[in-house]
Symmetry: C2
Subunit: 335 residues, 2 copies
DNA sequence: CTGAAAGCGCTTACAG
DNA sequence: CTGAAAGCGCTTACAG
């Protein structure tokens, strides 16, 4: 059916070896011959078969990327960063949505290994013990994004979540808030949630502020999740003056629910987010947040993985990206 | 380095053919032998090499998916739908962000063909002549999402954009609006923009309403794009009472800019969106929009492509999905 | 029920 | 500078 290297060789009156050489720009081909081959390729409309090439070369030029859900703004940005770099370096990515389910993660990992991916990017909230072991054992080059594993010290690119949460809490406190609730990710495997929790507590304790149980809500990371957590919080008699939400979507849901209750944000209650999603500066009120360079996290992950594959030395194997507090309309000094 | 089928064969004292048979569940293998092979696989930790298999079978079980930008909410949802179905049927997807640039599209198409993708999903706003020809000539099974090509009648899954825009315009008119602006996609290749434009005009003309040039804005499809278009509109003396934006992000940007001007939405101006993104019911005001089943469009595209590859008959090659007007807070009767 | 062998479409060490 | 041949890791028609 389709034309193969053999057909081109026949057309150009050379051997397949020669055709292969011009295809791969091996220098020692006679200019005349090369021209003839190029013409034959043109005439026949030949396209190399990358699968055959991969089998021979033991290299597929494709990465697997495992994320919880592409429909979640955070991962969407990271993936875009990954893909742009991959495109520059002639890699492609196989996208795997795991929903943070271990079963799916295991299955995808097997597929990625079987499809001989040159490397794997794992972007997530945390990795289960089992998967971690399996990944490391597989010997496939691996980089994690958004999280870091201390057990195997897998190369990683992330933000200092503990510090980021600490900074945001301190910021809220600097506004005069002493009663602060925390809406966090309820997923059992979330390393990030634990780190943020620690930062939050450290800041509160430093100031000698109370941490009542009813102000530590856990739920789904989504607008609806934020809505529900605010709903639960409002049922309490003891109301905080500020809420630190684990991301901007959660903050948005919380703002919506507060508004329905007749509470004006930030006049009656301050609400902060995390990540600085693109909507956050546009919604009303715009959301005070901790910006983190999601696109760059993806891009740096990809670059690091490519370096590893090329056996280049990677000086810093655990890159911490910068975060920034962005003050906007959803927070204000306590009245 | 890694264990191959030959190693398993040796371990189990059978031929590679036999190992391959148990791997592929070919029935005519002795139970006893099968068990021995399975044990050998277990012991050696053998993982099949899908690349070798693909070369032999002429099937990679991977699709290429070309979209403008995964960071755009519309495509994010569609891709999730695609991936979920692919996962069910043991396909993987190679994600390609083209930014609607023809150069990137051409390059990606070549790569997808060379990597022997079993099929390609093209989700976009429109296809250039050249790319269309190249895709069709390549003979790779192809489905388009969000758009339909009338020239080659490529199988497609989409919403009736003309009718959807018509319906939304009619809805705004039913609210008493006679002065309606339209914020649309400025990309030169956007088929969708042209269809919506037609629907908008048809509705307006049916009612004998004017279509002044200054109310037909074109810009970038994004929150910022909507902000800018509203900014331009507000510079006109002649102000409409309603704006139909080409999607919810554009609407959000427009709402923001209107607010900055001291205009209250919907009291002073009604603004409608398109697509029903997940934020749209949560922002304040929530956005009146035309819902379209983005996830399902992706899912149906994937299913159709799989059917085509399996040579199953696809009765309806141009599937029109349902759209719905969702009335929310950003539109109101004209005062 | 099982094995030897050919072949999928490439690349490259080796020989000339 | 060029070609014949081996080999990447599988599957399967063929023969037994």
């Amino acid at each position: 059916m389709s034309v193969k290297i053999k057909d081109v060789a026949k057309e150009a009156n050379v051997s397949v070896a020669t055709v292969s050489r011009v295809l791969n720009n091996v220098p020692l081909v006679n200019e005349e011959t090369k021209k003839r081959v190029l013409e034959a390729i043109e005439r026949t409309g030949y396209k190399p078969n990358a699968i055959a090439r991969s089998l021979k070369m033991q290299k597929t030029n494709t990465f697997g990327i495992m994320i919880p859900d592409i429909a979640s703004s955070y991962f969407t940005e990271v993936v875009r960063g990954v893909e742009d770099i991959c495109n520059m370096y002639d890699y492609n990515i196989i996208l795997c949505n795991t929903d943070s389910e271990e079963q799916k993660e295991q299955t995808y990992l097997d597929v990625l290994i079987e499809k001989q991916c040159d490397g794997i990017l794992y972007i997530g909230r945390g990795i289960s013990q089992e998967l971690k072991k399996k990944m490391v054992d597989s010997k496939v080059p691996l980089v994690t994004g958004a999280i870091h594993d201390y057990e195997y010290s897998i190369p990683s690119v992330m933000v200092d979540n503990e510090k980021a949460a600490y900074d945001m809490t301190k910021y809220l406190i600097s506004l005069g808030h002493k009663k602060i609730a925390h809406f966090s990710d309820g997923h059992h495997n979330s390393l990030i949630a634990r780190e943020k929790e620690e930062g939050f507590r450290r800041a509160m304790q430093e100031e000698g502020l109370a941490l009542p149980k009813e102000w530590e809500l856990m739920g789904e990371i989504s607008i609806r999740g934020g809505y529900k957590m605010m709903d639960a919080l409002l049922k309490e008699n003891n109301r905080p003056t500020a809420v630190m939400a684990t991301n901007d979507e959660v903050a948005l849901g919380a703002i919506r629910r507060a508004g329905e209750e007749g509470l004006s944000v930030p006049k009656d209650i301050s609400i902060s987010g995390f990540n600085n999603f693109n909507i956050s500066e546009w919604v009303q009120p715009s959301i005070t947040t901790v910006a983190q360079p999601m696109y760059d996290i993806g891009a740096v992950c990809a670059r690091m993985l490519i370096k590893m594959i090329n056996k280049e030395e990677v000086e810093n194997q655990n890159i911490i990206m910068r975060h920034d507090i962005i003050e906007r309309e959803s927070t204000a000094t306590v009245k």
